[in-house]
Amino acid sequence: MLSRTIRRSILDSRIPTSALPPTFLLPNRARYFNSTVQHVDAPSESLDASLLATNTSAEAPETVAPVRRPIRPKVPLPPAPISSPMALDASVKEMLPLLAAQPSHYISAHIHAKPYLVTAGDTVRLPFHMPGVVPGDILRLNRASSLGSRDYTLKGTPYLDERVFECRARVMGTEAEPMRTKEKKKRRNRRINTVKSKHKFTILKIAEIKINSLEDIEGSGESV
């Protein structure tokens, strides 16, 4: 009996590494891929908003009566390119290559006007559930108040020009808080109402922070 367990334990320790599950299925990684099906609202609408608009206009003569409001996409669509030439300060022009040459950068990105001070590789748990995104989506963060490294900081007034930098974040999934229950009771009444709430939070991982070179910035301004 005892010898068998000892033998098994020895066998266990000799399992070849190929038999182990891949790293992305390890518990600490697998957390990001929810095993349950995620509830995502109307992804096709948000993706093909322009296409959808043309379709509805083509079908419009057949169904006259219902005036439908334009469908607001749940995820903001890429904004139109900015045509105005960028006015960079001389000092910024001088220091930007120095900032770009630094090994690592941080950024204070604003999502819905809330700042998130992050660097590449950071995991951010947003304080809300972002509608219309699924794990694997890449979001471009285009609003930042400061961008810097160990030695230099570029500050916005109040925001930086979004052509200076490229910051991308990958949607990793959602996280849920433990169920909260709250007992609601009124005075002089025995009735107790128990309210349950369980919120979901979207998790982002900052994939990339890149500072565009001066040639790229000015080149893009001229081409547009």
């Binding site: 993706l47 903001p76 669509l77 890429p78 604003h110 699924v134 794990p135 694997g136 989506d137 471009r140």
Partner: protein, 87 residues
């Protein structure tokens, strides 16, 4: 044609009935409501009656209620660059 953009910043609670009536006539029911009126002596006189309670700007165009709301909404700060395949 220019307009006054009037925002009620201080409440009219506890003020005399006449003052509260002016606020009601201007359509300012609670704080931070914004209304637009053309620049006329009548409106200027009304504003003078409640000058301690409101802030006034001169604007070229009156905004609708939804436009005033959209002004306050902050920029999302992100957009979907590449979408993952959805089933």
């Amino acid at each position: 044609m220019s307009y006054f953009r009037i925002t009620l910043t201080r409440s009219g609670i506890g003020m005399p009935k006449r003052t509260q009536g002016v606020l009601k006539a201007l359509g300012l029911r609670h704080r931070m409501t914004t209304v637009f009126y053309p620049v006329t002596p009548e409106v200027a006189g009304q504003i003078m009656r409640v000058k301690e309670l409101v802030t006034v700007q001169e604007v070229d165009k009156p905004l609708t209620k939804s436009e005033v709301r959209a002004e306050r909404r902050p920029d999302p700060g992100f957009y979907l660059e590449s979408a993952a395949p959805r089933g």
